[in-house]
């Protein structure tokens, strides 16, 4: 254990959290500022250089979390952009869209990318393999933005409140859009992670994000064995202690410094727009796409 104010708990090697969330006044919870501050405080202590975050509408307050209305999508994106502008040294944002409102979704992507959004967040408004996601994926490929897709690891039935997708659903979309990069969200976020690892093993434009509250032993080993270090991304989602624990577990299972660097930051630097992530070096990192750039104030 380190002394307060000295070495970050996860060391000084660059670290990117590709799956973070924040709240805003319209989220319907009175402690939204405390939770946001707690994320930044814990991030500082862990040593997270860049948080790539989203706000999903009103988080259920005025329209359902996973089926946000256009007005709530816009309000959430505005709040997220404001946070990234308030903390340009630390925070970047995804633009959240609801694919059921295709025109609005495309307009939001254009509007928010102009203001600095570096990726697209898809929640659970429409199954990932649905044709309605194609225009979103087209935009992602054209603009060089990765798509973070909320995933339920192995969909064995429908669950209320969301139109859930699993690794196989996302794989179908990714195969249709080989020029886009897709992030399979929170392998530890609920469901059977072994199914997801198998479902996307050979789909090379799908990256697995290690976030989520689940810390099952064997999960990291299998994810690594399935897709290799070059397709794993580090993140926390709603529990940051599990993120820190997973970093340490990756070391414990024997990954070397180079592979750990891939997971900590290099893969993110590759799939997000060039120079988009604060404090993250890009020299020596070959971008997955080089035909699209996003202007981000540094």
């Amino acid at each position: 254990m380190t002394d307060e104010g000295s070495q970050p708990l996860a060391g000084r090697t660059p670290l990117v959290d590709v799956h973070a969330h924040f709240y805003h006044p319209a989220s319907g919870r009175g402690d939204w500022e405390r939770v946001n501050a707690a994320r930044l405080r814990a991030g500082e202590r862990i040593g997270i250089r860049a948080l790539i975050a989203s706000i999903i509408g009103s988080w259920g307050h005025t329209s359902p979390t996973y089926f946000p209305s256009p007005a709530d999508v816009t309000a959430g994106n505005d709040a997220m952009l404001a946070l990234s502008e308030l903390h340009p040294e630390r925070i970047r944002c995804y633009v959240t869209v609801n694919p059921n409102d295709t025109v609005h979704a495309r307009e939001e992507i254009a509007r928010c990318v102009e203001r600095g959004a570096v990726g697209i967040k898809l929640a659970a408004s429409r199954r990932a393999d649905d044709a309605l996601l194609d225009p979103i994926a087209d935009e992602a490929a054209r603009r060089g933005l990765p798509v973070l897709q909320h995933i339920w690891q192995h969909r064995t039935r429908e669950w209320p409140g969301q139109e859930i997708s699993d690794g196989a659903d996302l794989g179908a979309l990714a195969k249709r859009h080989p020029r886009a990069s897709f992030i399979l969200a929170h392998i530890g976020g609920g469901g059977d992670w072994a199914h997801s690892c198998a479902a996307v093993r050979e789909i090379t434009n799908v990256y697995i994000d290690l976030s989520g509250s689940g810390v099952d032993r064997g999960m990291l080993d299998l994810a690594y064995a399935s897709v290799g270090a070059s397709r794993l991304l580090w993140g926390c989602d709603i529990t940051m202690e599990t993120g820190l624990a997973k970093l340490r577990a990756l070391e414990a299972v024997g990954l070397g410094e180079d592979e750990l660097a891939e997971i900590r930051w290099r893969n993110a630097a590759r799939i997000f727009p060039h120079n988009a992530l604060p404090g993250i070096p890009t020299s020596g990192v070959a971008a997955r796409r080089t035909d699209a750039h996003v202007r981000v104030s540094q």
Binding site: L9, A42, G190, G191, A194, S213, G218, L244
Partner: protein, 253 residues
């Protein structure tokens, strides 16, 4: 510092890497822990716990300075009192019970009798809220999570029993704790294996509202990473970390 929530043995619904006592000893040393209370994971899913308990004691025998057995006693099984007495005589550190896996309701008199017997011999009764997140369970794994009603009933069953509940989250902890009298609460503690850290800061909240003395270090190894509760403690706000560390032991300093 002791991990009160470890197992050895396999899990019926997924492969666990190396759930063996010698590996557990090495993991405890790597993480700076002095020892562990250890149950036998397959026994939680057996009808008759006898063979699993025997396997547990035998497997831990070479490691007894570090690994302390916590066998399961099923109070609806013939001669369970004899099994409890033998476990006590053989050096059990606590007694595990799995009412949800055994289909026993919160107010089952046999569970109350087990609580009373544990209180009488001074062994804590260790309960497991869940083995896996509900969202990933096999269709064959139909037992629900442990209920607050079970916890409250067992604590109330005997004035001497001490109950340790593992793998619980904030909601279950709060409904159980605040649903008991101060005297009853004093005999109920929780492991921190499944309590969320930042940014929700459930662990910090619970330490502040219930008191650090109600919490014990636990990991649910080999089901879950032992690094997670350690990280949770390290990420506590500065004002709380020292008191929690002092309460849980001096293992982080």
């Amino acid at each position: 510092m002791i991990d009160v929530n470890c197992f050895i043995g396999g899990f019926p619904f997924r492969e666990l890497p190396h759930p063996d006592p010698d590996v557990l000893v090495r993991v405890l040393a790597r993480e700076g822990l002095a020892g562990a209370w250890v149950g036998h994971l397959p026994t939680a899913f057996h009808r008759d716990v006898t063979a699993g308990n025997e396997a547990l004691f035998e497997a831990l025998e070479p490691h007894r300075t570090v690994l302390q057995p916590v066998p399961a006693i099923r109070p609806d099984w013939p001669h369970w009192q004899l099994a409890l007495a033998k476990a006590h005589a053989d050096g059990a550190r606590g007694i595990r019970a799995y009412p949800m896996q055994w289909g026993m309701g919160a107010h089952d008199a046999r569970l109350a009798a087990l609580a009373g017997a544990c209180g009488e011999i001074g062994l804590p009764l260790v309960l497991t809220t869940r083995f896996e997140d509900v969202r990933q369970r096999s269709a064959l794994d139909v037992s629900p999570d442990l209920s607050g009603a079970h916890i409250r009933a067992l604590v109330r069953a005997d004035p001497n029993v001490h109950v340790v509940v593992t793998c619980a989250g904030r909601a279950l902890i709060e409904e159980s704790h605040w649903g008991l009298t101060p005297d009853e609460r004093a005999r109920l503690s929780w492991d921190i294996s499944w309590i969320w850290g930042p940014p929700e800061d459930d662990l910090a909240h619970l330490v502040q509202t219930l008191g650090a003395d109600h919490f014990r270090f636990g990991s649910a190894w080999p089901l879950r990473l032992m690094q997670s509760p350690i990280a949770n403690i390290e990420l506590l706000p500065d004002t709380l970390r020292s008191s929690v560390v002092a309460q849980l032991g001096s293992w982080l300093t």
